[in-house]
Symmetry: C2
Subunit: 358 residues, 2 copies
Amino acid sequence: MSPSTEKLLADFKASKTSALARVVSIVENRRPESDEILAALHQKVGHARRIGITGPPGAGKSTITTLVARRYREAGLSVGIVCVDPTSPFTGGALLGDRVRMEQVALDDNVFIRSMATRGSLGGLAATTREIADVFDAFGFDRVIIETVGVGQSELDIARTADTTVVVLVPESGDSIQTLKAGVMEAADIFVVNKSDRPGADRLRNDVELMLGLRRGVGYGSMPAHHGVDLKRAMNPARVAREAAKDANADAWTPPVLRAVAAKDEGIDQLVQSLDKHFDYLEKSGALLERRRQRLVERVIDAVDRRMRSRLWQGGDGEANGWIRSRIPDLEAGVTTPYSVADELLAAHGHLVTRVDD
Amino acid sequence: MSPSTEKLLADFKASKTSALARVVSIVENRRPESDEILAALHQKVGHARRIGITGPPGAGKSTITTLVARRYREAGLSVGIVCVDPTSPFTGGALLGDRVRMEQVALDDNVFIRSMATRGSLGGLAATTREIADVFDAFGFDRVIIETVGVGQSELDIARTADTTVVVLVPESGDSIQTLKAGVMEAADIFVVNKSDRPGADRLRNDVELMLGLRRGVGYGSMPAHHGVDLKRAMNPARVAREAAKDANADAWTPPVLRAVAAKDEGIDQLVQSLDKHFDYLEKSGALLERRRQRLVERVIDAVDRRMRSRLWQGGDGEANGWIRSRIPDLEAGVTTPYSVADELLAAHGHLVTRVDD
């Protein structure tokens, strides 16, 4: 470890906010020292409660996040917020209103907000979010809120890296919950129907409750497999474990469907209470232990996948890349195929992945 | 190869649309037979011209795609369209209007439209899109249009897998092109300012032209590196090659900034002409050959990455997963870290990636 990294870690452990910001940047950008810093912080992880907040655009997620954070502050708890925002490369300023509202919370020293823009693919984003939540946890925040700003399955997966996943819905988000894709119902530990003073809110609540009942009625085990290919299941042990846990404890936790009008600060106390209740349930049922174990497993898998790629493509003086280039004439001539070349490449250079860095 | 796969390939080669639909499904869902089918089609790939169409939501991409497809049909060319739609898990029906418009084109037998919804992470989507474009190409379509419906950096990356990337902008997409993120300017081979009868259209065109001039003026080589970490560059050789090609041929292709009012079918002929012109440029300059080579390299890298993961996590009777589980007590006790466990795992089980399947 370099002297500058040691200094950074010392400042981090001395609770300097500037060191926190720097560590988060290093992890977010996957700088070379990222893994050794995360390893050094590993023992300090495990104190914070993690809350994921997700839902469709315009559902009021940022307002709810801000109000929940304020409640925690009033209770004397420190809060770290990770906003995951898969920014469009075409437009920039759409979320400014939310950001300004958030700034009001951020003026408080015991709240730290970090917006993560997705630079490249969303593929690694769930992994990075998990690790930034670890950093917040290690820094000593009592609560870590992971808010996803964008839309898409990936955001749902990100919110699910938390201990408790809150799904925020609004009456206008669809004619009915028929539009909720498979996965949303299973992911939610708590539903919030926001803007519940608007027409359709009661029907939406009823629909969600009905669907929860139906799902519980038929049992998760008998549901069709809509989680994609086997590999994806194998790569997402948390999801598998969570479903198994829901199977085993079908009666233990029924996601409440709360009403809220976040713009008028209505319903937030009930949400905070439900969050506490769910955390109690997680602790008492042993589900918390299991979720945290799964997070450790995922963290190892993420690190392994990153190492495999970087060792193969950057290790051995670029021999793997060079080897592909040497096969281009045959690929162009149709003498071989990319899939045969992939097999040959792994046979010839796959050993690179077993090498220790540096 | 199983008899049913052989039958499917025979039907595909006999130009049966039902076989095309089935092959696309197999590739999109990464069924086990996916790679052997793609390998079998490899020699037939390389005839179609690939056009990527991207831009912010509401820019009129679908309308433009439909009109361009219609022009090609009028010229006697067959067209395959891949719509990449990172569906929200929360809402479903937003794009129905576009789909209906598209259906009008689809009534024609020589147009095939496939909408890809992103089920999981966007990470693998560029790879899957590339391969579905290959399938269309092998089927014999003269033109393959890749239209991205969503927003985000990943969509830009997807559009860039084409031979020619069209970026559609509209006056209301931002106060100015200041909001265009780095990457958009470099990605576009052709700009279309749609809805150019609206206020601000001329200013937008001027801004884009000015920025193109500025960029060319300073030279791409001297631009700050905003493409993320080295690994990402290494993993995206097409981008590197494209930038290098632009460096070398700074004067060879200046992206035109076209006007269009797609809703009134204005400006589409000019777009089709520009597409032809750009393709001529690609052929004559040798850039086409280089782009297609890069696609081959990317295809090998994608296949290698998929194989590494599936062999490690699913091979050897699940030994790698089992091994992580055995290390959980030490991870929980803080005796070791996920990063050390990752290193140990690759040292002990990394050899799995060199094994040939089955």
